[in-house]
Symmetry: D3
Subunit: 223 residues, 6 copies
């Protein structure tokens, strides 16, 4: 395995022998996605760190909430766009494409949610998430009030904040450790909506070509 | 034609009767790309403005230069990433994917070129382009010197600056007019490199589904 | 109980009936600190969210690491200073004062670590944490290299990043929910070092006066 | 000719043999202004680049528009003030002084248009131009709506944006190439309004002293 | 006397022989506070500079004004919080604690005044002071109008601005010269409000331990 | 007298009966400059405030220093350029033109000192002043060391900082009070260097036209 295939640039230590729960989670990833997300592989040098990360991420993105799962992914991507986080834009951009069943919607969140003509509820939601990302020190009661006016409960506001705050954490972990997204994400739900089935899902993808080959080709063209 | 299919939100006036040279350029676009880029449609209310834009863009991106065409597209995308320009990230992101023959390279430029492990020449080129974008008032001889040290001639520096400066203009036109990228760009060169032909090119794409249908579907899921 | 005594302004729901592990953790807090930190009370509306937060925070701040516990608290405070987070500056400012056994060291971290004449190792550590906080998109290999040069291992770098990233999350939760620090923190380790015992610890503090009285007094003076 | 008299620091190549149209334009400059603006001299190493620049600049600043020529110059200067562009502040500052027939109005635009007590129309126009300059990613329909409310048509909005965007381009070219303004601009329309003729114009100015002499004198005084 | 006890890092020259008025002021400080503030000791290399500083500071903070002395200290601290000025946050943080008779109020101003639930008058006052600190170029009539609406006269607005502007000066002097606050400030008014007398005042404090000892202890713990 | 001729927009109160020293200073201004600078007129509602301002300004700009008077004016203008202060750029821009005997040097400082090809000493001086203006919290020993390396003593560093800090104060006073510069400044030392006498000075200027007339003329042109 070459350096390029490591989940991150940082050498935090060899993979730990996974505890049963972490091992089961990795197995579930392989079954559902066809691979273990590199962010989890990055945390796998330590069972306790991996467990805490999984618990928090799973609760936030998949637990009960007044926000749809798509909305939570939209927050993840809008925050990651501000922070220019390659890992999260790749993986959660794919998640937005998949949950929306719309490749273009994913691109809009990656580029600039303000170009997306969102309904007022989602516009207010992302305005808050981005303000919280850029100027956490300037959040005031008026900002919370704007969300309530857009139809969110206080519990919803907690969830918007919690997802936005979590990606402000993971964006920084990805940047500090130079995490590299699994290449499969780039190719997830890129088809036209018209030809997509009604329930789009990520198909297991056979191993993509080695980066070495890619680099060779790129150099040739960039010349 | 619905509002969503207009090339921009701004109503700058009806399309002008195109002069022969502009008409010929539009014909060439349709032949080569299968469509007229919406940025040109946006300028088409006035022949003089359209001509000046085409002349400048074509010279910068396709004219003689010490920079490869891929490198010029990389600058376009890195600048547009700083400015979060949906139109340019969509259209020039596609161009990077196409010229590099590598979808992942395009995503890297859209997200954050610093994650791309670029060779020193291209890293220096994009560092300069981004500094010029973010802090034009702080450019000094030392910045030019860094480019010379990375192997660029003064004429190359002009070209790096000219492309970066041009997209600082078009990013702002797209934002002010709310230009919407042609939907075809989203689907350009999304295949695995391994299955791509040696000379990738954009195939004419049959009309994508109406946005109305897309919006309906998205609302259903976002609930 | 008046509004002012609530752990946060947001009404995310009534406290959940705590699961055994969470209940035990709260008991430990009361025993060791004399109170349950309001950030935990804020999360207590949901057992899963509370558990994930406790697991992550405890591992980061108290688990095995090449960083001392004081150093981790210094990162927490330096990050919170950039983000102007009242909750975290109050609670972790107290922790720095306590772990350093030096009230002035805590104030320096709250105000500006650059004024603290830190040894090169800790200066490099906080420079990285603050850069990661302010410009996560600009972190490059050179930044990691600076830490290695200052004597940190890659695993240490992970820990510096993980603590800095975590407080970029909690600062935003505290801002979004308007969390209010337990008043006891303000009074923790404020004595002169000379009169302090060799192993300073937080003494349980009898209930401070109601805020109502405080507000009355303040108004009188501010007139 | 000394280095100081070159139109820019960058050595992009020797002047091209000018095509007829470019040659005619230079002749017109010499006739009307008494000199060829250095920005044109800078582009003169390449006929195509020079032509595209002239076409675009002329159409924007002198073509049909709902904006007066003075208003377009005011936008040019307000944008250049944000970007601290010495070349454009010098040349277009002179243009504002000349078109307004008021030296003080030019200074206000160079320093800070907010100090100028402008009529609401022009205040809204420059607020938009400056927002587009500083935060192109944050432009929203509400910003366009504010211009419409101030009396501008959508076509006017295009023109405001186009001028602001163009100077975001040229400011960056001037910074990257270190362009030096023709010295004549500094001395254009500096007289009291009272003693100015009703139709102020730039008189051809005899060659100013060499920079060498200026530098000598300055050094002497700065000691 | 070791380097650490110098009032600042910069060596601007030996203390001047103080003129009578300056000498009297120093005597008054020693009588009232128990020490001469280090900012004055820093200016003491030159009688004229010291005098001008004292005259301006005394007039602003203690002279006639529609603002209470506490409010003026609150402005000083809110401005210094934006500028992260260790010296001023230490000394004027102590002043807020003392004048408010409330340690927690001082901490709130140091950390983030937006967390303080201030009455609208004081909220408007600090919003203006902070806007003036962060974006002096963007102050407009609307900002002054907001203060008038909150009940301030034009003369009050002058005073708010004058205090905010003054600390924008002193914050920068303290940063440039690396001024170190007198250690006594850290220990001023740290008691619970309940046990404080009705008229809190700074008691003369016996010399704190040498920094050398503190540093030794800190190193031991930080290990 | 119309509103436009008031020294500032704020109505801080009627002019005080000036004390003898302040009166003498105003007389000296009238004699030397031909007018009282509006910043002094603005402070004239209160003798104590006026005196403190004059003492500090005079000492900084005219007192003994290792910096030439021109250099101090250059700092004033470079700082005011960052803060976009119309009052100070007008009045101290004039002072630079006058002391340098070079109108172009004044414009360079107003626009962007980085375009001025300054000798290393003055470049370092202004780099420090601007860093202190933009990021006072980030000043470190290395910044002071850069000045020492450029030949400045610690006392010189104090003076650079003191002038930069002072204009960070006055820029904010001018912004908050909307001070308007005396119109004479606009017309000071605008002549070619070649035709200027060896010892340039500001000649008393006869009253400029009323603003009313100017506004009328401008409206006519701007239409």
């Amino acid at each position: 395995m070459t350096v390029k295939n490591k989940p991150m640039a940082l050498d935090a230590g060899p993979p730990a022998k996974l505890d049963a729960d972490n091992q089961a989670y990795f197995a579930k990833c392989r079954e559902k996605l066809g691979f273990v997300p590199n962010v989890l592989a990055a945390y796998a040098f330590d069972n306790a760190k991996l467990r805490a990360f999984i618990l928090m991420a799973d609760d936030l993105m998949l637990g009960d909430s007044g926000l749809s799962k798509l909305e939570r992914e939209m927050i993840a991507v809008a925050v990651s766009s501000v922070n220019h986080c390659h890992y999260c834009l790749t993986s959660h951009g794919a998640a937005v494409r998949q949950r929306a069943g719309d490749p273009e919607h994913g691109e809009l969140m990656v580029h600039n949610y303000r170009a997306a003509n969102l309904p007022p509820r989602q516009k207010a939601m992302l305005d808050f998430a981005v303000q919280l990302t850029e100027h956490p020190d300037k959040i005031e009661e008026a900002d919370r009030q704007a969300l309530r006016k857009a139809g969110f409960t206080d519990r919803d506001i907690w969830d918007i904040a919690a997802v936005a705050a979590f990606y402000n954490m993971t964006n920084r972990m990805a940047a500090a450790a130079d995490m590299r997204p699994n290449r499969e994400y780039h190719y997830t739900v890129r088809q036209h909506m018209d030809v997509m089935s009604e329930s789009p899902r990520v198909l297991p993808i056979k191993a993509p070509p080695t980066n070495r080959a890619a680099a060779r080709r790129r150099r040739g063209k960039a010349g």
